[in-house]
Amino acid sequence: MSARRTIEVALGTSGLDAQGLPLRAPLVSQGGQALALDAPMAPAMPEPVLQADHMLINIGPQHPATHGVLRLVLELDGETVVRCIPHIGYLHCGFEKIGEYRQYNQIIPWTDREDYLNSPGNNVAFVLGAERLFGVGMTERTKVLRVILMELSRIISHLVWLGTTSVDIGAFTPFLWLYQERENVYNLLEAWVGARLTTTSTRVGGMAADIPDGWLDGLRAFLKGFPKTLEESVRMLETNAIWAGRTVGLGAMSAQEAVNAGLSGPMLRASGVAYDVRKDFPYLDYETYDFDVPVGTAGDVYDRFLVRVEEMRQSVRILEQAVQRLPDGPININDPRLILPPKHKATSEMESMIHHFKLVMEGPRPPAGECYVPVESPKGEKGYYFVSDGTSKPVRWRIRPPSFVNLSAIPRMVEGHLLSDVIAINASIDIVMGEIDR
């Protein structure tokens, strides 16, 4: 395993070229051969014959580098991974089961808690599915507000990924810088919906709340400051020899393998497949926004890093367009089957009060049917599959968790690599155990 590897490092001008490929230039390798151990250290005694037994090593579930309660059982030959058996389920809470006992709007808080780095995005994904099941749409203003939520949550999710992965690989500074920016987004979310992590920001047919006065100014300030922090942090890593040495060539998946394994999101795009739900199956009018989908070439950990970084830049672009086009108007659709009457009417008019009571106690009822609505979450294709039998609670609420499917390919990614590379490869998948175990 000490064969010399060529290390490629992106040029200082970060990003992608006109063809959407990461800019790269070969650099001198320092891998494995830096010390000449041949002549001077010849052993005076014959080397002892080491046993060729494989070793079994257990990582997790309580290991900080597993990003949650993932457990990996590794069979090692020396330091090389021969076999990897992942174990999950330590965080299993039965979200899908609980959802069968809740009305649609009551399930939204559970979506906060599955992929908890992407709560607003999950809220939006959930109501998009529920709204198709109910056969309703959304207002123009809500549509843009939801785009803002989805892209903000993509940014904070990728920030956590970049921060924690850099800590895993040995760089601490970007973690602090990026978490500061994440804090700014959480302040924005708090000002909007009152919560930071578990936002529950949407409702079927509308939003929990409209943005407060001056909120867009806060978003504009963030959009102005954030790219600077991002570029500074990326500059720390992109051409960093340690970062490159620990990410280039690791855990590579070919495009065919990645598609066959069902990978999605940055994992799939790093392997060169330009599949993005926002482009291929657009929702929320994403086809009217001007943004690019970054695609990698090698499919290794380094490409996943480049793809995620570029996605954050594109998210900033989308957010800038969304801020510009945000129209005035109501946030809830005018559909009394779904939307509560205004409070002053519910307390003064008999009809509205009955209506309010029925909606809260019995809940809105979709027609019998089913639908699967995918969105592009930061981890990949997240879809909610609803089956309704016409009652106010779903018969089946299925989460298609992207990091679950991405993680299931980890044996193929780590086998043949070194033990220390397992940490980097595992980090590159961007797993959130809340979503995997549900």
């Binding site: 598609v259 089913e370 699967y372 499917v405």
Partner: protein
């Protein structure tokens, strides 16, 4: 706080830009589709022509096409969808199952397939009568991504995927005895009492979570210290580790 609602408001807007379309020009994202009666995915016609009696029926709901197929033909149909150059359903989105509250309806196993190049989405279903054997063929030889999806479905519903090389529980632990949680006859709080659940949780030892299969990988069991070997052996004799040494 509440904005006044306008008198009339269209549910969804006219799209400002071009609608993304598949190869035949059909928009890929259903917008303003009726609940039933939207045009079916053309693949359904192809399947009906080729597999005839194996296609039970086709439904279109909210613009999504569902093809009900027989269990025996499922593997051939998926293989055809994956390999046929004109179809190329190269991406397995999801494998799951649905059990209805109405006890007379069969359990449905659901496959969500996607053709990345053609931008198409297809849902396959196999209906399994509740009283009959709950098994369907595994498609892990076609899509490697089916591995955990099928294991989870087995874990949650008890549906066996014949041909899966390693069909173990995934989310629940291997010694879990309460059944399959997403079945409708499974109570929300589980089958056992809280006291029993707590007792089992406290009695569980993290060391026991090494399955005997894993220990035998590296023949590590023999290399363990004697006291640990003894403890593991004792646990095995208490039935916590079954099928083991």
């Amino acid at each position: 706080m509440t904005a006044p609602l306008p008198e009339h408001q269209p549910p969804t807007s006219a799209v400002m830009g071009a609608v993304a379309a598949d190869l035949t020009g059909m928009p890929v994202t259903p917008v303003n589709v009726p609940r039933t009666g939207a045009p079916a995915n053309p693949t359904a016609t192809v399947l009906a022509a080729r597999f005839g009696a194996s296609i039970v029926r086709t439904e279109v709901i909210w613009g999504e096409t569902t093809v009900f197929v027989t269990r025996d033909a499922l593997h051939d149909i998926v293989r055809f969808l994956h390999d046929e150059p004109l179809e190329r359903y190269d991406y397995l989105v999801d494998v799951t199952a649905v059990e209805y509250r109405d006890g007379t309806r069969p359990i449905e196993v659901v496959w969500h397939l996607r053709a990345l190049g053609h931008r198409r989405f297809l849902r396959l279903k196999v209906e399994l009568p509740k009283r009959g054997p709950l098994w369907v063929p595994s498609i892990i030889d076609i899509y490697s991504g089916a591995d955990w999806l099928e294991r989870e479905c087995f874990d949650m519903f008890g549906i066996r995927f014949e041909g899966h090389p390693d069909l173990r529980r995934l989310l629940m632990w291997e010694q879990y005895r309460e059944g399959h949680p997403l079945r409708k006859d499974f109570p929300l709080r589980g089958r056992f009492s809280r006291a029993e659940q707590l007792k089992q949780a406290l009695a569980a030892d993290p060391e026991a979570r090494y399955s005997m299969e894993e220990l035998s990988i590296a023949e590590a069991f023999d290399a363990l210290p004697d006291d640990m070997k003894q403890r593991l052996a004792e646990r095995a004799s208490h039935g916590e580790l079954e099928d083991g040494e």
